[in-house]
């Protein structure tokens, strides 16, 4: 289990003002965390909530309902300012090859009510985790009950599925560190596990501390260069386009300024708003060179209309052959002129372009009405 729990809590560190919520079922498991993190109790109708500047600690009590109620209340108390939920606690082993007292990071959590396995599952943000957990509605005391659960996961607990479900509801990432305390179905005494709780708490805290020191590089942000002005919608559009460029070019966002034609745009366009429009066009053309070819192919077809102040609106993404045509007239001459332009409009050529007769890289599209035909 190399790299297990890698980059733990990094998302919390880089999201301004957000805290990490640590969730435990039992006070005994949380004890060392409460002391070492120096969190103080919160005066709140739901008991078991502690906080400091960086962390919220929630002790929910055992089982699905306690977890759902307490965790949802805690997240609401924090005003949704939670970067990540980390569930910590003990779990029973369903597979004999898992060593006791080992701490594992959970990959996917399954849920079971009585013997019925829930379809919904939740996957933690720890990409390196390899152990799955199944959360059951009752304690697993018999081997016959443990076996069917082992088809789905290697460890079993009572709370993680509910915890992950609440996280999903609030759109907060989660992860989970579990100490394997016993073999499920072997009648481990809860009293024994409770007696060992302090030892588990120490071990979990030590693991937590080590992982909390591993940091991921800060998320790269894509920023608009000076000399450009973008509306909120344009910023959103640019972010998405620039992210696509990052994916296509397989290069880091910080190298984008060298790659984009920023200087050209700054020189050729005076207005910050126009520069942004041009940048958006350039990016779209770069990402989808076919679009430029399509527009080049359509240009001569639309020319008779646009040249006479007639607006054309193709169907969304050209998915159908429908074409909106609109114009205004102020006198009879203008009406005659626009009618003549409409008559000269080659709708068949338009339809054929939408059916794939687009200008090829080295060739021409089918000529518009009135032009000489030319073999490809």
């Amino acid at each position: 289990m190399k790299n297990e729990g890698k980059a733990l809590l990094s998302s919390g560190k880089h999201q301004h003002g957000k805290r990490i919520l640590l969730h435990f079922a039992h006070r005994g498991e949380a004890r060392v965390f409460l002391e070492e993190l120096a969190v103080h109790p919160v005066s709140f109708p739901v008991k078991g909530l502690y906080e400091n500047e960086r962390f919220l600690v929630v002790i929910s009590g055992e089982g699905r309902q306690n977890t759902t109620e307490t965790l949802a209340a805690a997240i609401s108390y924090a005003g949704m300012q939670i970067s990540e939920v980390l569930n910590l606690g003990v779990a029973g082993s369903l597979h004999y090859d898992l060593k006791l007292n080992r701490i594992v990071s959970v990959r996917t959590v399954y849920g079971a009510i009585d013997n019925r396995v829930e379809f919904k599952t939740f996957t933690s943000v720890d990409d390196a985790a390899e152990i799955d957990c199944i959360s059951t509605s009752r304690r697993i005391l018999e081997k016959e009950d443990a076996e069917p659960l082992s088809y789905f996961a290697q460890i079993v607990d009572r709370e993680l599925w509910a915890c992950a479900s609440v996280c999903k509801r609030f759109n907060i990432p989660f992860r989970s560190l579990k100490m394997i305390s016993d073999r499920a179905g072997e009648q481990a005494l809860c009293a024994d596990i409770a007696e060992d709780a302090l030892r588990y708490s120490h071990a979990l805290f030590n693991h937590f501390k080590k992982l909390a020191h591993q940091e991921e590089p800060e998320n790269e942000r894509i920023e608009l260069p000076d000399g450009f002005y973008a509306t909120v919608a344009q910023k959103r559009q640019l972010t998405s386009l620039l992210q696509a460029v990052v994916v296509k070019e397989k290069r880091s966002a910080k190298h984008l300024p060298d790659f984009l034609p920023i200087d050209d745009i700054l020189k050729s366009e005076k207005h910050p708003k126009k520069r942004t429009i041009r940048l958006i066009h350039e990016l779209r053309d770069y990402l989808n060179p076919f679009r430029r070819r399509l527009e080049e192919s359509l240009k001569p077809i639309f020319e008779p209309l646009r040249g006479n102040d007639i607006r054309v609106s193709p169907a969304r993404d050209y998915e159908t052959n429908a074409l909106g045509i609109s114009f205004t007239v102020e006198n009879e001459d203008e009406l005659d002129r626009k009618c003549a332009a409409l008559k000269s409009f080659d709708y068949v050529a338009y339809r054929e372009i939408l059916s794939g007769e687009v200008m090829s890289v080295n060739g021409k599209s089918k000529p518009a009405k009135g032009e000489d035909s030319q073999a490809n």
Partner: protein, 342 residues
């Protein structure tokens, strides 16, 4: 291929094919269950866990064993059915629809081939004289990738030898052709390969054999006398993709004589909405995500219509120019497929 655990339906526990498959994985633990569905797909299992924790289920296929194929599934004018002998695939193509289909990447092998063949026989006997009926395999799995373990095709060969009016298509990206070479060619069995230009395979078809390996496998099957089908599907746009397809098509016509090339199907990359969401989640760094897609006529996510039609036209033209007979080229899963483009 490593499986962590085998799950075997009790009803097929003694089936010779089941026993053969179990023997092939001596290190995997074996659990006997009542029904595949008791565990498989019971809870959503993330697709990419196929890389580290893949299970194998062996069971009996229930329900309709033959399904009417959708329009534009094969050459037009003849009845087409597909049958399901397995679920899921060992490969990991970024665009694959299986990533959103079963809610689990685990593999399922069905072993009741005798029942499938009985349904094929019933359907074949209803076909008027002089007409063909098609059976396609590989809708939900690769037909050949694990055929050395499953050995199912030996069950089907005698049926297709007996009924020449019934045609079998085995769809694959694999080069695992040992088993079918041993069975030998039949005129009505078409082994069809999905092919894309080398660069596209490297970028998007993870874990699949290279183009050169597939070409070599095709060449061996051609030499044995097999009929070959080709799927230029999915086509993925790159600048100058036309040049890539010219090279690919030239290679294909050089290797496959016209009389052994059964058909070429053309299709442009497409996703159902669910699969697209899975694809985005599973492959956030895929170059394909930089492309401009739209919701198309049937709700699927595709390139814009002029874009995909342009690609189809260009590649269709290339096929014709390289000497592939027009009636052997068809468009797969496109609304204009009922009429050939040119």
């Amino acid at each position: 291929m490593k499986f962590k655990t085998l799950f075997v339906e009790e009803a097929v526990a003694d089936d010779p094919q089941t026993l053969r498959i179990i023997d092939a994985f001596p290190k995997a633990s074996v659990n006997y269950i009542s029904k595949v569905e008791d565990v498989f797909g019971r809870a959503r299992k993330p697709y990419l866990q196929k890389r580290t924790s893949l299970n194998l289920f062996i069971g009996r296929k229930e329900g309709n064993l033959l399904k009417v194929a959708p329009d534009a599934y094969g050459l037009a004018g003849e009845p087409h059915f597909y049958f399901i002998h397995a679920y899921n695939c060992v490969y990991e193509c970024e665009y694959c629809y299986l990533q959103g289909y079963f809610k689990s990447p685990d593999l399922v092998f069905f072993v009741n081939h005798d029942e499938i063949i009985a349904e094929m026989e019933a359907a074949t006997l209803q076909v008027p004289d002089g007409q063909h009926i098609w059976f396609h395999a590989g809708e939900f799995s690769d037909c050949l990738a694990l055929s050395h373990i499953t050995c199912e095709w030996e069950n089907y060969w005698p049926f297709f030898a007996r009924y020449p009016q019934a045609k079998l298509e085995l769809r694959t990206k694999s080069v695992n052709i040992k088993v079918i070479r041993k069975l030998g060619p039949l005129d009505n069995v078409i082994v069809s390969f999905s092919l894309s230009p080398d660069i596209a395979l490297k970028l998007h078809d993870r874990g699949t054999p290279s183009l050169s390996a597939r070409m070599k496998a095709i060449q061996q099957l051609v030499e044995d006398g097999f009929q070959i089908g080709l799927h230029f599907d999915p086509m993925i746009y790159r600048e100058n993709f036309e040049a890539d397809y010219e090279i690919l098509t030239e290679d294909v016509v050089r290797i496959i004589p016209a009389e052994q090339l059964a058909y070429v199907s053309l299709g442009v990359v497409r996703f159902s909405r669910d699969v697209f969401l899975e694809f985005e989640r599973n492959y956030p760094d895929s170059e394909l995500l930089a492309a401009e897609f739209t919701r198309s006529f049937d709700g699927k996510v595709r390139y814009t219509r002029p874009h995909r039609m342009y690609m189809l036209r260009q590649v269709e033209k290339i096929c014709h120019e390289k000497g592939i007979a027009p009636h052997k080229v068809y468009l797969c899963m496109e609304n204009e497929s009922e009429k050939q483009l040119s």
